[in-house]
């Protein structure tokens, strides 16, 4: 076979296309000759690869021909010249170029960060495949028949909903539910604490498109099955193959213990999913424990439509409208629930929530994650746009103010016959060039700050950036459009100059575009003022929340998790008492208490109670907590009537303390009249009220105080032990506590938190919001300062002569300073007048999200104005001062 047929076609063609004609015979011939030889001695494969390499190495400037395909390309030289001129101009005025470029780069950086954050927030749960059906969450709401008010919005629904719904409602294709828990997996005598354990069925994977790497989803319908996420499997088993390994799960909050086998590994859930699971266990195990004693003598099958707390999701047919679904699912639930609800005068309502909305749905209890805020996302988008605009405003201001310097160049070009269109092209190219440099710098900076930004917002928003390519393509397009627009104005100003005037030299100072410049500066000032006021108010609101008197003292309090249920043998009560005794023996600890509720953690336990002297259907829902006799005094709570629990009274096992809200909701006339009254409880005899506690807000000021009933538990089985530390030396004390704990309860995981930290975590979302807003406000101020600095220093240089003449005529330094800064003072005043109402309106709206809110103090509006004045004086001060101090003879001499 001839070697010619084997020569790499593409490379052969490429070379013939690119090579200069006069070199082609020599070089192509040589290459082919070499190829033929290699073909013979080294074989076709090697010969081909050598040939390809040789061709690529041959592509150098001296070999590649000059293409002159279109006559248009003669403009190339012109563009080259424009490019050169741009570079020279940027280089000549380094200070201003730096300010323009750096200002733009910071604006781009900030906007990229903000937009990616909003992208991330709006991308929640979008990755599920919904082509074959729409996914909904089924929450539970209750309509009060009498008042027609919706109450008890809960993100979960009844146990009975899931398996039955797909059988009875034809629109539902798949359904699933799960119960979320936390506990520890033990393998090889080592415990691994795990949040977000889901008890569920294989149908979980029918509804959601989470990826099962290995294993069969059907196994989840069998008891003793464990599915692990990739990262948890790694944590537990190191590098070993986890499949088929045995391990034990101990639940933290119940008596559930599962001896299981790893039968599946799933890919870690993405961070923009409201579901976050590290491990899945079979719901059949959960049901078995429930059926075995959780409801006394009653069976789970009797209670399946009364047991709440199951996160339930359905995949419905695409052609079923939400209204139809709401109706059908509502009828379905009412059918099973009416027996219980009729007597209580209420009706169940089902409003399916589309998956993509869930992240932004607020005010539902038992949500898996704190909700995002659509308003906040739009606000951030707005800030992103504003910051980018501020960057461009700077550029326009600087470029148009600087245009005087280029006037002569324009004059000469025009005299030489340059057309207006050509000049516009020149200046446009220059601005695009500057924008491009800024973009490249911003891209580099972005990559550098991504880790810090992730810390700031508390989510890895830049992971999987490839999902957002469409958005960023649009961003880039808009950016180019903005760059052109921001270049267009200076270009138009410049090309308007009359060459005769300019070249005669009678054109020295620029009054062109001062009005626009002022308008743009006004816009910058107003934006900065609004953002500053916002930051101040957000700060004071968070301070207010953190320092609010919740009716409990939480200082210097350490909370440790009580030993998990699997360690609770017959001697547990003695052991925990002994442990508490030992702990209180530590000199630096002044007290301890064991309870099911601590400030700062949501309390999801609740029951329905009613007064024994009223009909049973006049019931209210109360939060329920078990405490020991020390709890009330430990947390400095106040008993306004009756008494606290007492350790010695055996009968105290059957009495309760309620709070003021419960007192009011139960319609007692006075605290005193409630003492001695009895309340009906489900699953127990009526309990007597012995004390009324003053309202306290354990859940933080974002939540209203709910009615609460506390009962006594002296068995030590409540899940938290609180310790009061009487020292600043936290580390040592903590070590001592841990040692004692582990010596009493070997095998348990020691987990401790400081209460003030947990409590402040309630406001984490707000604090994050504050941090992000603060960061971007600083960026906005920085960019504005840069712009004002550049602009003012330039304008002052132009006014040097005016200053000198004033001085010669006897003006004092102060008077001149006043003349030079009046413009800015006026601008700030005007911005204040416009910005204050807007800021007030926005801030008031934000504060209304809170149950308790600070009043808006005038300081929040005065301080930013003063701050802006000071910053302004500092930025323009040094240049102005220099201008004023200069000897007039120096500037006046040079004419």
């Amino acid at each position: 076979m001839n070697h010619d047929d084997h020569i790499p076609k593409f490379h052969h063609w490429l070379f013939s296309f690119l090579c200069k004609e006069e070199l082609y015979d020599e070089l192509a011939g040589d290459l082919e000759e070499t190829f033929a030889e290699n073909y013979q001695f080294l074989g076709p494969d090697q010969a081909r690869s050598i040939y390809k390499k040789e061709v690529l190495k041959m592509l150098r400037p001296s070999v590649i021909r000059k293409f002159k395909i279109l006559p248009k390309f003669t403009h190339m030289d012109m563009f080259k010249n424009y490019f050169k001129i741009s570079l020279r101009n940027i280089w000549r005025d380094k200070e201003h170029s730096l300010i323009s470029i750096f200002g733009l780069a910071s604006a781009i950086l900030a906007s990229v960060l903000i937009f990616q954050y909003t992208n991330f927030e709006t991308s929640y749960d979008q990755f599920h495949d919904q082509s074959d059906g729409t996914i909904y969450r089924i929450p539970r709401m209750v309509l009060d028949d009498e008042s027609q008010e919706l109450r008890n919005q809960n993100a979960t629904t009844f146990h009975g909903f899931h398996p039955t719904v797909a059988l009875e409602v034809p629109e539902v294709l798949h359904s699933t539910h799960f119960s979320s828990a936390d506990g520890a997996f033990t393998y090889d005598d080592k415990g691994h604490n795990t949040d977000n354990v889901f008890f569920t069925y294989g149908s979980f994977f029918d509804v959601f498109s989470f990826e099962l790497i290995s294993g069969d989803k059907k196994d989840l319908d069998q008891p003793g099955t464990v599915f692990l996420s990739e990262s948890l499997a790694n944590r537990i088993y190191g590098g070993q193959d986890p499949m088929g390994k045995l391990l034990t799960y101990n639940d933290n909050n119940s008596n559930v213990v599962v001896q299981g086998q790893v039968k599946g590994i799933f890919r870690d859930f993405p961070s923009n999913s409201h579901l976050k699971s590290e491990a899945m266990l079979s719901m059949t195990d959960f049901n078995a424990f429930a059926d075995n004693g959780w409801f006394g003598n009653r069976r789970l099958s009797q209670l399946t439509w009364r047991w709440l707390g199951f996160h339930t999701y359905v995949k419905a047919r695409k052609d079923a409208s939400p209204e139809l679904l709401e109706k059908k699912l509502g009828d379905f639930v009412v059918k099973y629930r009416s027996a219980f609800d009729k007597a209580n005068g209420r009706t169940q309502v089902v409003k399916p929530q589309a998956l993509s909305d869930i992240h932004f749905i607020k005010d539902f209890i038992q949500q898996l994650e704190p909700a995002g805020d659509r308003n906040m996302v739009s606000l951030f988008k707005l800030i992103g746009i504003l910051i980018l605009l501020i960057g461009w405003v700077n550029y326009i201001n600087l470029a148009s103010a600087k245009s005087v310097r280029r006037a002569k160049e324009v004059g000469v070009r025009k005299t030489m016959g340059a057309l207006k269109g050509q000049l516009i092209k020149l200046f446009l190219l220059e601005s695009i060039f500057i924008n491009l440099i800024a973009l490249i710098i911003a891209a580099g900076l972005t990559i550098l700050v991504i880790p810090n930004f992730h810390n700031l917002v508390g989510a890895p928003v830049f992971d999987n950036i490839e999902q957002y390519i469409p958005f960023w393509s649009i961003y880039l397009l808009l950016f180019v459009a903005g760059a052109i627009l921001s270049g267009l104005y200076p270009a138009l100003v410049l090309t308007k100059f009359n060459p005769i005037l300019v070249l005669r030299g009678s054109f020295k100072s620029s009054t062109h575009g001062t009005r626009l410049r002022k308008a743009l500066m006004f816009f910058q000032f107003a934006t900065v003022l609004i953002m500053l006021s916002g930051v101040l108010v957000i700060r004071s609101q968070i301070q207010y929340l953190v320092n609010y008197d919740i009716g409990m003292s939480i200082d210097q309090t350490l909370v440790i998790d009580a030993p998990p249920p699997f360690l609770r043998d017959s001697t547990f009560t003695e052991k925990i008492k002994a442990f508490q005794g030992d702990i209180e023996g530590i000199a630096t600890i002044s007290g301890s208490t064991n309870s099911s509720m601590v400030p700062g953690l949501p309390n999801t336990w609740g029951l329905t109670v009613s007064r024994t002297d009223r009909p049973a259907n006049e019931s209210i829902h109360v939060r329920n907590a078990s405490i020991d006799p020390d709890f009330v005094s430990f947390y400095n709570m106040e008993i306004i009537a009756g008494r606290d629990f007492e350790n010695e009274l055996v009968g105290d096992q059957n009495v309760i303390i309620i709070n003021q809200t419960a007192l009011r909701d139960l319609e007692f006339d006075s605290p005193e009249s409630a003492i001695g009254a009895r309340l009906r409880f489900p699953n127990s005899d009526p309990l007597q009220i012995v004390g009324i506690a003053k309202d306290f807000n354990y859940a933080g000021m974002k939540f209203a105080i709910e009615p609460m009933a506390m009962h006594l538990n002296t068995q030590g089985t409540s899940p938290f032990i609180s310790l009061r530390l009487a020292t600043k030396d936290l580390k040592n004390t903590l070590n001592q506590v841990e040692e004692t704990y582990l010596s009493f309860f070997p095998g348990a995981a020691f987990e401790s938190t400081f209460l003030d930290e947990t409590f402040n975590n309630i406001y984490e979302a707000d604090q994050k919001f504050q941090a992000v807003i603060k960061f971007f406000t600083i960026v906005a101020i920085l960019i504005s300062c840069l712009g004002i600095f550049g602009l003012s220093s330039f304008l002052i240089n132009q006014k040097l002569k005016e200053v000198s003449i004033r001085k010669v005529l006897g003006a004092s330094v102060m008077e001149i300073l006043r003349v030079l800064t009046t413009e800015y003072i006026w601008l700030i005043t005007l911005s204040t007048i416009i910005a204050t109402p807007i800021a007030y309106f926005l801030i008031d709206g934000w504060l209304n999200n809170f149950l308790v809110r600070v009043g808006i103090s005038p300081i929040s509006f005065v301080l930013p104005v003063i701050g802006l004045m000071v910053i302004l004086c500092l930025t323009i001060g040094s240049k102005t001062w220099k201008a004023v101090r200069v000897n007039p003879s120096k500037t006046l001499k040079a004419e």
């Binding site: 070199l23 082609y24 015979d25 011939g29 290459l31 030889e37 390499k53 190495k57 041959m58 001296s62």
Partner: protein
């Protein structure tokens, strides 16, 4: 003068053209260099060196015959000009001068020791 400077690689190329005498065209020069100095160079790199040497006037070139194995494209033969030969001699002389002084230097050092 910049024009007469002879780089190390260019010197090798010149020498191999001299060695090949009547047979000096691209492929042969490439092979000759590979054979004598043991380094494989790409045809592209060789082209750069050759064209620069032609520019400096050290080499002359003329088109030769076309063969079938070259796909009917003609060879280009190179020949060292007199200018090229003298440049080679000059480079050789310079180098010899250096070597001599290094030897002298060594001698002094040994003498002192």
């Amino acid at each position: 003068m910049k024009g007469t400077y002879l780089g190390e690689f260019q010197e090798i190329v010149l020498l191999s053209v001299l060695v090949l005498a009547q047979e000096a065209y691209g492929v042969q020069i490439q092979k000759e260099i590979a054979l004598r100095s043991g380094r494989t160079i790409s045809r592209g790199a060789l082209h750069s060196a050759l064209s620069r040497l032609v520019e400096k006037g050290f080499l002359d070139s003329k088109f030769g015959e076309a063969t079938k194995v070259r796909g009917g494209k003609s060879k280009k033969y190179y020949e060292v000009t007199n200018l090229g030969k003298s440049a080679l001699q000059e480079a050789e002389a310079t180098r010899r001068e250096f070597h001599k002084s290094i030897l002298d230097l060594n001698w002094v050092k040994f003498g002192a020791a």
